[in-house]
């Protein structure tokens, strides 16, 4: 599932492309350029949605749209570069997510649905690009099995493209704490992968999304 950009002849194998620099688009959007705003949305939304997927499960789309309402409304007050903008957007999304979780808990007494992510039935095995979505969902589902601070640290780095410093600002932690949480998360992911490492028929090889029902709470 390695993306095309990994084959760049730069000498370093990449797992994903560098985050796109949206600073110019942000400035233009702040001046009312709608096309620039679309660019921002297209660049930032996928990561945002995946981050939210792990935080709030199937309500991710709803929470994301709430986040974009606020992003659009408060765009004029943002100052900073591209990384800063991602951090700002992630912060907004995170707070919407936490608000959502609080409302949900009050309403139904449900526990945080992060654990539900792991049990979410994956899409049926269909060919072609559906496999990409499947792989992405499967990856997120496994990340969702981490303790939340580890999951967030990993997601903000990997999926939102933030550096440790900016991720720390989103989470209200120091960069060192975010780094540690992310490293622990990766180790745990590696362990989860090893443990459930039976290959599935489609060859994805992760055995996630309910195939392995143990909840590993140790680090």
């Amino acid at each position: 599932m390695v993306s095309e950009s990994a084959k760049e002849p730069t000498g370093v194998q990449r797992l994903w492309a560098d985050p796109v620099d949206v600073s110019a688009a942000v400035v233009a959007a702040q001046r009312g350029d709608e096309g620039a705003f679309r660019v921002i949305y297209q660049v930032v939304q996928p990561g945002l949605l995946r981050y939210l997927r792990v935080l709030v499960g199937e309500d991710a789309e709803d929470v994301a749209s709430e986040a974009w309402l606020q992003i659009a409304r408060d765009l004029g007050s943002f100052r900073g570069d591209s990384d800063g903008f991602r951090g700002w957007a992630a912060t907004i999304a995170r707070h919407r997510a936490l608000d959502h979780l609080r409302r949900e808990r009050r309403r139904s007494g449900l526990s945080v649905p992060i654990e539900q992510m792991a049990d979410r039935p994956s899409d049926d095995d269909t060919a072609g690009s559906a496999l990409d979505a499947l792989a992405s969902d499967a990856a997120l589902a496994l990340i969702a099995r981490l303790p939340r601070d580890q999951a967030e640290a990993v997601l903000l780095r990997v999926v939102m493209g933030l550096d440790a410093q900016t991720a720390g600002q989103v989470l209200g932690k120091r960069a060192g704490a975010v780094r540690t949480a992310a490293y622990r998360g990766l180790r745990k992911l590696a362990k989860l992968l090893e443990r459930s490492g039976t290959a599935r028929p489609d060859g994805s090889g992760w055995g996630v999304a309910g195939a392995d029902g143990e909840g590993d709470t140790t680090q």
Binding site: M1, A29, Q70, G76, S77, A90, T91, V158
Partner: protein
């Protein structure tokens, strides 16, 4: 902790993975790559709704000046009359107004506001200019003072007016019972004239002493992500 297959992932390897470099166990690298894979079309389904919100946000510039004065009033409401009176007696130059302007209000009131405060204003272009011209750090009176040439303690009258407006929302008559306002009442020509006098007074100073510096210079928050107000911003209601 380690199984027979484990590669113990050190911090260096972990950091490389988090930056998107191939490292560590193959399966883990693939998992992260899948998590960070390019967008699928379905993930952009909310684009039109977001754009609609964007259009709407840019169609209402007329609200902004009103928002600013609302925010000024809201900020000053937190300043009790006692504090205002003390500030006024301490500095002869409309202490409350400058206190607000210099960001000496306590943090929760939006003193030295970070560059991102969604509750703050949208007038991005204007506020920094006004703020920069204002000698916010110095105790001297505003250079572009619109004070009336006749009365000498006019800057303090402005401060009195601000304090009055801050307290008057609840109970105007009672607010004026405070001896601090005696001078203001005298100058205005009576308790019942204070409101109009102050409205007029502050009108001429509008824009020269913004109570909040929402964007100022992004000195301490270059990345824009709020440090100390993680919960304040996103839960605001429109028109706040």
């Amino acid at each position: 902790m380690s199984t027979h297959r484990s590669h113990r992932i050190g911090r260096f390897t972990a950091e490389r993975l988090l930056r998107g470099e191939t490292a560590g166990p193959d399966q883990l690298a693939k998992l992260l790559a899948a998590a960070a894979a390019p967008a699928e079309r379905g993930e952009l389904a909310g684009e039109e709704a977001a754009v609609a919100a964007f259009r709407e946000a840019h169609l209402v510039p007329a609200l902004q000046p009103r928002k600013r004065s609302m925010i000024k009033t809201a900020l000053l409401k937190f300043v009790t009359l006692k504090v205002a009176a003390a500030a006024l007696s301490a500095t002869a130059v409309g202490g409350v107004a400058l206190a607000a302007g210099t960001g000496h209000l306590p943090e929760p009131l939006g003193g030295p506001a970070p560059s991102v405060r969604p509750t703050a204003t949208h007038d991005t272009g204007k506020a920094p200019t006004a703020g920069d011209k204002h000698p916010s750090a110095s105790p001297s009176p505003s250079p572009s003072s619109s004070s009336s040439p006749s009365s000498s303690p006019s800057p303090s009258l402005v401060g009195l007016c601000r304090a009055y407006q801050a307290g008057a929302g609840d109970n105007p008559g009672k607010a004026l019972d405070n001896p601090a306002f005696t001078h203001l009442i005298t100058v205005a020509g009576g308790k019942d004239k204070v409101a109009a006098y102050c409205a007029d007074r502050l009108e001429t100073r509008a824009g020269k002493a913004p109570a909040s510096h929402p964007t100022g210079a992004p000195k301490t928050h270059p990345t824009g992500a709020p440090k100390t107000h993680p919960t304040g911003a996103p839960s605001t209601r429109p028109g706040h």
